[in-house]
């Protein structure tokens, strides 16, 4: 049974009395890439974390096409600042498999395949903490993809990466989409949104301002915030 559709109804997240995001009504279905755009502090990260279920809802609900516990097992999240565990590169990638009881040898063998795929085989047995920013993000992506998630949330995975690293990450993301993974990703990079997006969610001031197909959005945003964002104006 597919994990999707995901339906958020009146969902909101607050911290210390301040609404970070919501209330949000959103339906996520089908395949491809949903790109979340918006200014800093708009609530993009909170939206992704809320949908993934790692922050507590203040109001509303987020439901999947299966029980919530099962849904959590079938998703993954890549953070803007990748978390490097104090382990070797290959053990970092193998970690999610070890959590679900895959024997160490088999988990490492599969992880090594991923490490080769992301071009880090030379560093496979070195500590992950010595990797560069781009390498860390690739490792985080491999670690997220190794359990073949049906939905992958990515919080600005290419922030502060150079062109080459961004291209490598995007290639991995496109492979994941081709393999059937649904991506929900935030970015500040409009070029990246143009390259990858099937649909766009524009977030501003803790609210979803627009949720449309990428073609429609880039052809002509419906909201002043969307038009300002595309013009490159400052949106607050």
């Amino acid at each position: 049974m597919s994990l999707l559709p995901m339906v958020a109804t009146g969902a909101s997240v607050r911290r210390q009395g301040k609404v970070l995001i919501g209330p949000v009504d959103l339906r996520l279905d089908g395949q491809g890439v949903t790109i979340v755009i918006g200014p800093n502090g708009a609530g993009k990260t909170s939206l992704l974390k809320m949908l993934h279920g790692i922050v507590r809802l203040r109001t509303g609900s987020v439901s999947w096409n299966c029980p919530v516990e099962e849904a959590r097992e079938r998703q993954a999240f890549v953070f803007q600042q990748p978390v490097m565990m104090r382990r070797s590169v290959v053990d970092n990638v193998a970690y999610p498999l070890r959590l679900i009881g895959v024997p160490r040898r088999a988990a490492r063998a599969e992880a090594l395949e991923w490490v080769k795929r992301i071009g880090l085989e030379a560093a496979a047995d070195r500590s992950a903490n010595v990797l560069s920013g781009g390498e860390r993000q690739k490792l985080a992506l491999a670690r997220a993809l190794i359990r073949k998630p049906e939905v992958l949330f990515l919080d600005e995975p290419c922030a502060s990466l150079d062109g080459r690293a961004t291209r490598e990450i995007e290639a991995l993301l496109q492979d994941a989409v081709a393999a059937g993974t649904r991506l929900v990703m935030s970015t500040h990079n409009l070029g990246q949104a143009l390259r990858l997006a099937n649909e766009i969610i524009l977030v501003a001031r803790g609210q979803i301002q627009e949720h449309r197909s990428a073609g429609d959005f880039f052809a002509g945003p419906e909201t002043p915030e969307g038009r300002a964002f595309l013009r490159g104006d400052i949106v607050e």
Partner: protein
């Protein structure tokens, strides 16, 4: 000054000749301290991890009490263990008083708060690094604790090392509960106290230097283990 020099030569002589009494006392010191260290680590490290990961009522109070207990006076601990293990005490039937086991119990009580507090500091930092990832991976509390203990193992070695240092140099509690009985419960620290009392300063100093050498050797071993991180081993 001459006594210091004599102490050094006496220590070298005792070690070079592998003095039977010295070997026996040293091995007993190591056996008691390492046993206490293992037992205390088995209690303190998971406790530290639970305190880092779980949020529960009185958690802050538990941490405060643990920190306060780091300064527990060893003689008082010895006295309490003595009362509990004495013939009329609640555990007197076990007949543990004046045995190495009683010394281990006292040392465990002394070093558990120390190891747990230092370990908690390290694991709390590690947990703040790992928090989002482990929540996102939908890990159980048990998996989080195991992950923190494994990934924090080098920092935890330092905590264990502090516990070892406190235990190997401890004299008050083990004197009370062990009784410093020759060939039975005498260890390096109690032997030093005895020889000092008898005015045998050179021998006491000699034993002291052996004790220092032992502590330094264990420290170096653990330091070497910690360095293996650079080469990706362990």
């Amino acid at each position: 000054m001459s006594e210091l020099w004599e102490g050094i030569t006496r220590a070298i002589w005792l070690v070079v000749t592998l003095d039977a009494d010295l070997v026996e006392i040293t091995l007993r010191s190591l056996r008691v301290t390492l046993s206490a260290l293992v037992v205390a680590s088995l209690i303190a490290l998971p406790l530290a991890a639970v305190l880092a990961v779980r949020r529960f009522w009185l958690r802050r109070a538990t941490i405060a009490v643990l920190n306060a207990l780091m300064g527990l006076p060893p003689v008082v601990v010895g006295l309490l263990v003595y009362v509990v293990l004495s013939r009329d005490g609640p555990l007197g039937v076990l007949g543990l008083l004046f045995t190495p086991t009683a010394m281990i119990i006292a040392q465990v009580i002394i070093i558990v708060p120390l190891i747990a507090s230092i370990a908690h500091q390290s694991l709390r930092e590690l947990w703040s690094d790992y928090h989002d990832l482990l929540i996102s991976l939908h890990t159980s509390q048990f998996q989080r604790i195991c992950t923190l203990l494994w990934d924090g193992r080098r920092a935890l070695l330092t905590a264990a090392l502090a516990g070892f240092g406190r235990a190997i140099g401890e004299v008050g509690a083990i004197m009370v509960v062990g009784g410093n009985i020759d060939h039975h419960t005498r260890v390096l620290t109690t032997a030093i106290a005895l020889e000092t009392g008898k005015g045998e300063f050179a021998l006491a100093l000699g034993l002291g230097f052996v004790l220092i050498g032992l502590a330094v050797a264990v420290n170096l071993c653990i330091h070497w283990l910690g360095q293996t991180e650079r080469t990706g081993r362990w």
